[in-house]
Symmetry: C2
Subunit: 593 residues, 2 copies
């Protein structure tokens, strides 16, 4: 089906919005009136610009407060409409959105409303224009889609149809099943938006917190199913008012938006991109650093051994059990200290995973490989992290480890260890998108978003994971675009016994993050511990949490650049990441920094 986006969903000038929509792959746009008014381009120039960009103008919107008013006011409204229809002819737009009136003079008279809508449609027809009438959730007398449809049906005018908007329908709690009672050809337009479950005043909710389908809590897929069963064949159009997107760059937002429509269509069965290939483990995490020494010191103390070196690049492989860390000192472009720059994901089908990613608009990274390098498929996540699709130790597929030569005499440590989870800092303006990306591109499941109180602001974190928990990625974001208090990038290692692991780390010269004594007095008040248990935790700075499924014990190393490590002893049933302890950990990290 054709895809469209309202210009109000993107930031910038009208030209910037149109360019971003076209580049992201949209077929058309809704021109939002304020964007046109503020543009120095004439309607004819906008029309030509859209044509150049391969965009149709699917809708002009909104026309407000038209119907169910006294005759003299309606006459003024028709005069206003005539002006707008002339404008639309110049623009080359053939459908106008009319929202149900919020005017204090509007009367509760369906017959009058239908008659006036019919007269408006008469005028529109003279200009070759169709009127799509929509119920605003906060409309004065018409606030539900079925009521709007009854008026359209009563009017019975060929140039009058209805516009459905998933936000207005689902925010009111209306049952969308009734959509199937509307003939598809009378649904002139379909606007799609999602929203987080906020339970707030619907007007504020709509104007500031809408998001793209799949980012919120509405069953947009279900609604689309009802619409498709009517035979609706018009565009799927996104109309999102969101304070964060208003500030974000239009280009990435448009890509995020188009990806959400692809996922929605896939769920509704109207498109079939390559199926997701869910990763089955973490092959490696790659740290980029200007100075390998401090990283090597921490890795060594954690029990890792430097086992191999890349044949063509200054990249070392460190191993312990199933955990593998690459230390890259060669990426000269990176000037922001030590960062977690890439993640290797074990994939049952690396080529298929890359095809899926590309179909879902993930930027495919060029394979910069030297002679003899294994061909490695990779894409960039929204935060810039490079995601590699790997097949480790499977003879039938190229192995990334073939690029590495063993360090002579190196001994692989025999201790069990693997990556429990990785934590990545997300760009502030694309946090909601990050979870959708990982769901759509990698086929991971998103867990609930949690707030974490940092001494200098509230952070948010949302984890994505595969079914067996062998891949877990915690996506974190600061309290504001400027936030530099986020200590979020880290590698958490699963160990069998965190007390033993922490003691070994310290004995090997590693520095653990000290946790205040007050925290342990609180633990003692809340839980029973075996004799000596709490004393060990206090001594080592081990934090403790518990949910219905079990306990979680964890401690942190000091930070190198922007990265630190966590040692994690997770009971199999425990689902979380110790969010309850985050305020104490964050405060301790501020004290250290």
């Amino acid at each position: 089906m054709r895809t469209s986006i309202a210009t109000v969903s993107l930031s910038g000038s009208l030209t910037e919005k149109l360019t971003a929509a076209s580049r992201a792959g949209f077929d058309g746009v809704e021109i939002f009136e304020n964007d046109l008014l503020a543009s120095p381009l004439t309607p004819e120039e906008i029309r030509a610009r859209c044509a150049d960009l391969g965009l149709t103008i699917d809708l002009y919107q909104p026309m407000r407060d038209i119907e169910a008013v006294p005759e003299d006011e309606f006459a003024r409204n028709l005069r206003r409409a005539r002006h707008k229809f002339q404008l639309m002819n110049r623009l080359g737009a053939d459908t106008v959105l009319v929202c149900s009136s919020v005017c204090p003079h509007a009367v509760d008279d369906d017959a009058l409303a239908a008659a006036q809508l019919s007269r408006l449609a008469d005028l529109a027809e003279d200009f070759g224009i169709r009127v799509a009438y929509e119920a605003l959730a906060w409309g004065r007398h018409v606030s539900t889609y079925d009521h709007a449809w009854r008026l359209v049906e009563t009017a019975g005018h060929p140039a009058l149809g209805t516009c459905l908007d998933s936000f207005h329908i689902l925010s009111r709690g209306s049952d969308p099943k009734g959509i199937e009672d509307i003939p598809g050809e009378k649904i002139f337009f379909l606007q799609l938006a999602d929203a987080p479950p906020l339970a707030m005043d619907v007007l504020q909710w709509s104007r500031h917190y809408r998001c793209f389908p799949g980012q919120g809590g509405f069953d947009v897929t279900g609604l689309l199913g009802h619409v498709l069963r009517t035979g609706y064949a018009g565009p799927l159009s996104l109309e999102v008012f969101n304070d964060v997107f208003r500030q974000a760059e239009a280009g990435p937002t448009a890509v995020d938006a188009h990806r959400s429509l692809l996922m929605l269509q896939e769920a509704a069965g109207t498109v079939a991109p390559p199926a997701p290939v869910v990763p089955t483990g973490v092959a490696f995490a790659e740290l980029v650093t200007p100075d390998a020494e401090p990283v090597a010191a921490v890795l060594g103390a954690l029990g890792f051994a430097r086992t191999a070196r890349h044949r063509g690049k200054p990249v070392d492989l460190w191993e312990q059990g199933e955990a593998r860390i690459l230390v890259n000192t060669g990426a000269a472009a990176r000037r922001d200290g030590t960062t977690l720059a890439a993640v290797g994901l074990e994939s049952p089908d690396p080529a298929g995973a890359a095809r899926r990613a590309e179909a879902l608009l993930a930027p495919v990274l060029p394979r910069r490989r030297g002679p003899g390098d294994a061909p490695l498929e990779a894409v960039a996540a929204p935060d810039g992290t490079e995601l590699f699709f790997c097949a480790t130790g499977r003879p039938e597929l190229p192995d990334w480890r073939a690029d590495f030569a063993d360090v002579p005499g190196a001994r692989r440590p025999d201790r069990a260890a693997r990556v429990d989870h990785l934590a990545l800092t997300q760009p502030w303006h694309h946090f909601d998108e990050a979870a959708l990306f990982h769901r759509g591109v990698l086929g991971l499941d998103a867990q609930d978003s949690v707030d974490l109180a940092d001494p200098y602001g509230l952070l948010r974190s949302r984890a994505v994971r595969n079914a067996d928990g062998s891949v877990r990625i915690a996506l974190g974001v600061g309290a504001a675009p400027t936030d530099d208090t986020v200590h979020a990038q880290h590698i958490a290692l699963a160990v069998d016994d965190v007390v033993t692991a922490a003691r070994r780390f310290r004995a090997a010269g590693g520095r653990l993050l000290p946790i205040p004594a007050n925290y342990y007095e609180d633990l003692a008040a809340r839980h029973d511990f075996a004799a000596g248990e709490l004393e060990s935790y206090r001594e080592l700075g081990i934090l403790y949490d518990r949910d219905a499924g079990g306990a979680f014990r964890h401690c942190y190393t000091s930070t190198v650049g922007r990265v630190f490590f966590e040692l994690v002893q997770r009971d199999p049933g425990y689902r979380g990441y110790g969010a309850q302890n985050a305020p104490v950990r964050l405060a301790a990290q501020h004290t250290q920094s």
Copy 2:
């Protein structure tokens, strides 16, 4: 009355919070448990720190999910409470806050709840501690203050009283009159917070959007009156959870907080600071600039004449009618281009205005005057703008103009002009506070806050004014802390005929902000204009708005540094500032920049 603040209301480490509270003049604090847990200080050290800072610890909080549970769970709760009571003894805190349970195991059994609260009070009494029981607005079975009081009354225990919280009471829409039925000595604590009228889920509303009294929409003063009539003599304590304050510097937030308590007490009649002295006009606006030329060019084209020069500093006075602009090229410290740095306000009693400002914690600026300078009282607004209290041309008082010597041969223009309003950019983290400052310190009234759509984010603006509109200040803030898209600092000049004024400006070489033709087609669709009227507007870039009281016509000059001018023709009954046109104006300014 004694004033107190919960540590959770301020950002930073516990030490930073305590220091900020003490410096702002609070008498005591509520220690929020998470702040203690995250602090490396022992309870004894915290106690000593508070004593050093002159702060009492008025409350330890919160203790959650205590009552109305099965006996085995209650036994565990008592064990937890014992730990906390021991801690409180070390801390020197004698009152603990217990909030009504949100525990899923809690049962709806008032008798059980009262009995268990009584047993908790028994234990508390052993430690010399009082239990203040509070109804959370989202408590599982107890969610109203009168219900909490009934349980306390039933328990009838001397160590058990109630805690009242204005947010929990007013957010539920409870009638606070019933507070007067509670004996004052059984109200163990009073927490005060305001909140904007958001109509959202009460838990989210409470955790993220609380604000200080006078910043929101609750009648906190009325509630305080009911509490005072019971004979309550404990502290007035602020407990505010706010995502913005969490990021703001603790020092200014604590001052803002204490000012709000002073204003609340003044309204309730328990303190009587010097009365506000409402300004009666704008004496001058002062631009600080590294280069006087561009500013002089715009002022000249607007019809101002350079009439006088300061006797001791590089400051010129430009005049036109009653509008006066100072152009200061001497403030070497200012390196951020041309800014609107100071405002002179006509004051019926400059010394009284300064006493009021000082009593309300406005930073009083040192009077840096040379020999012969008029003594000029001044304070700093939250955005750093210097506010001078002036008496222009009143022989009985020192006149700031006495510091200026006439420019030989300069002729005062005979055209009428005066300042319609000034627009000042506010620091992002203190926007709500700015309006409270101008209300409290200057005695101005705050108008409603409006959202303005900029192409790159949503701005907010809120105006303060005196009764006759001779002083109007629009306080604006960007969409985010980083926002550099705000073109908000400006001086609006009231003129009798904006078309004539704009033509004169242009004829004199001034550059007007061009407004897109599309805007005028929309005006034509919405309003009737006299012949030729709209053409003049289009030619000159004049914007048009209308409310129930009349019309508003306005246009903008190009920007110099961070400042521009607006020419305003305001019908007497029009209340606004052309907010409807702001998106078009902002987009045009982005196009120019």
